[in-house]
């Protein structure tokens, strides 16, 4: 009887373990099946490299270069803003802040992570967008830079909490060793703590970027959604994610447009996957 029970539990756990990978494979297969169909009508280079995204014109023009560049521009902007602030914040929390302030700041960071992206997008739309419009004297504030600033807020919690963990897990003896040589606090942080935790910090950055590139709601609300090749960060852009979210509802099932959106999904999947794998390589590097 006990053996039977043991057997059943073992198998149940085994199935739960398989479930995660099973769903990933299913989603992946579905994405591939639908997405790859688009290449019956358009070649791969024309799809990736085409300058025009007019999916409902006749004939449909399905070049996603403006979307890819839009995503990359917004992400790059967000990275430039969030990486220095995020790492600085992590250093402050891990090394400098007094204990009570540290707890307070950590709670604040967690709270920031808990804000739904649509709420952030909404707040950005009514505060940040007019601000960007007036400060740069633009015809519209719905620009790539508004999206970058907003997404920087969303990447911050990821970057801060993982980088802080990485700094915290540097063996105490490293820090003491540096201090015992007469290093100042900042010299210890800069020359010992940061290099020792560099792989964890890089992973934090990659995961932060991964979060940004996959974000949909906030960017859709505040980047203006113009599918043109961006020439400046002060222009409206459209990202890969926003395109799928905005157009999937109106695309006719089985149409070229519909398949193209799935193919956009594949591109997005490949980018996020690459970022996550990179982050994972860095994290594993740290464990060695």
């Amino acid at each position: 009887m006990r053996k039977v029970k043991e057997f059943i539990i073992e198998k149940l756990i085994f199935l739960s373990g398989l479930a995660s990978i099973f769903f990933v494979v299913l989603i992946f297969l579905f994405l591939m099946k639908e997405g790859l169909s688009v290449f019956k009508t358009i070649s791969f280079p024309d799809f990736i490299g085409g300058n025009k995204w007019y999916p409902i014109s006749e004939p449909a023009q399905l070049g996603i270069k403006p979307l890819i560049l839009g995503s990359l521009l917004v992400t790059l902007g967000a990275a430039i803003i969030s990486i220095p602030i995020g790492i600085g914040c992590a250093i402050y929390i891990a090394e400098v802040a007094p204990k009570k302030l540290k707890e307070f700041l950590k709670a604040g960071i967690e709270l920031l992570a808990a804000i739904p992206s649509v709420v952030l997008g909404f707040v950005g739309m009514v505060t940040l967008v007019p601000f960007v419009k007036s400060i740069f004297h633009l015809p519209t504030g719905l620009t790539a830079i508004s999206g970058s600033i907003m997404l920087a807020f969303m990447a911050m919690p990821t970057i801060v909490s993982i980088a802080e963990d990485a700094l915290y897990s540097v063996p105490k003896i490293y820090k003491e060793g540096a201090l015992a040589l007469g290093a100042t606090h900042w010299q210890t942080i800069y020359r010992v703590m940061l290099p020792a935790s560099s792989s964890g910090i890089l992973a934090a950055v990659m995961l932060g970027i991964g979060r940004v590139i996959g974000e949909t709601m906030a960017v859709m609300m505040i980047t203006g959604n113009a599918a043109v090749i961006p020439t400046s960060i002060l222009q409206p852009v459209r990202t890969l994610t926003a395109t799928i979210a905005a157009e999937m509802g109106e695309a006719v099932v089985g149409s070229e447009h519909y398949f193209a959106l799935f193919a956009v999904g594949i591109v997005l999947f490949v980018i996020s996957f690459a970022i996550n794998v990179t982050a994972d390589i860095f994290l594993h590097g740290e464990r060695k």
Partner: protein, 249 residues
């Protein structure tokens, strides 16, 4: 002999639990003071107080006077104090850099940039740590290629490169084999010519081998301090005798 370190009525607590109780001791210039005692006796606290590394613990509290060369250490700039009072840790802790860069690390941090000057300092420090002959042909190879004993002597050289007066050793041989231990001990004995050395060790025999004087700590109290030879032949206190003979601890 000149008094190098003077400690008067020192009490240390972590939170509410006392770690050092009413300590009075003088450490003389150019001697090796070995500190022995079971764990929780306060010997490591004693050592880490001398370069104020204890202050990293938030619950650390200290009362009393600690003077080095007649100056109250709490009134010296802490980086200067730690430059003057070097420390070698229990685990050899080479940085993931070349042998040369490891030794030059401290001087560089204190602002020396001239390559020749750095080379000069490193050579001197490596010679003093009795490592020079073993590494002089491969200064640019990674410090991780060295054996455990060599790594520990590298750490000694790194400490020496900052040009301290006093060197604190915190169980420097706890992870080393007997032959490496012998080399580190040899280095320590020769170093006392130019430096004052405080050695905390769990190895009673090591204390007997290298110490000029030995201090025995128990539960935060200094039980006795005396010439090493006297301590190991005719200790004053019964508890010291018991500890040395291995009856407890």
């Amino acid at each position: 002999m000149v008094t190098k370190i003077n400690i008067k009525n020192l009490n240390i607590w972590y939170g509410n639990s006392p770690a050092i109780k009413n300590l009075n001791i003088q450490i003389l210039a150019n001697e090796i003071l070995t500190v022995i005692g079971p764990s929780n006796s306060g010997k490591t606290t004693f050592l880490r107080m001398l370069n104020r590394l204890n202050e990293l613990e938030l619950s650390f509290k200290m009362k009393g006077l600690v003077e080095i060369d007649g100056k109250d250490i709490t009134k010296i700039d802490v980086e200067l104090l730690r430059k003057k009072v070097g420390m070698v840790f229990a685990l050899p802790l080479p940085l993931p850099l070349s042998i040369f860069d490891n030794v030059a690390y401290g001087p560089r941090m204190h602002g020396i940039k001239n390559k020749n000057k750095l080379m000069e300092i490193s050579e001197k420090a490596l010679k003093e740590a009795y490592l020079w002959d073993e590494v002089k042909d491969r200064l640019s190879t990674s410090a991780f290629k060295l054996s455990g004993g060599q790594q520990q002597r590298l750490c000694i050289a790194r400490t020496l490169a900052v040009e301290p007066d006093i060197i604190l050793f915190d169980e420097p041989c706890s992870g080393l084999d007997p032959i490496s231990t012998a080399k580190v001990e040899e280095a320590m004995v020769r170093l006392k010519e130019h430096y004052t050395i405080v050695l905390v060790t769990n190895n009673v025999k090591q204390a007997a081998r290298v110490g000029d004087r030995t201090a025995f700590f128990l539960s935060g109290e200094l039980i006795e301090v005396d010439k090493t030879q006297k301590m190991f032949t005719a200790p004053f206190d019964q508890r010291t005798d018991d500890y040395i003979r291995g009856i407890f601890g």
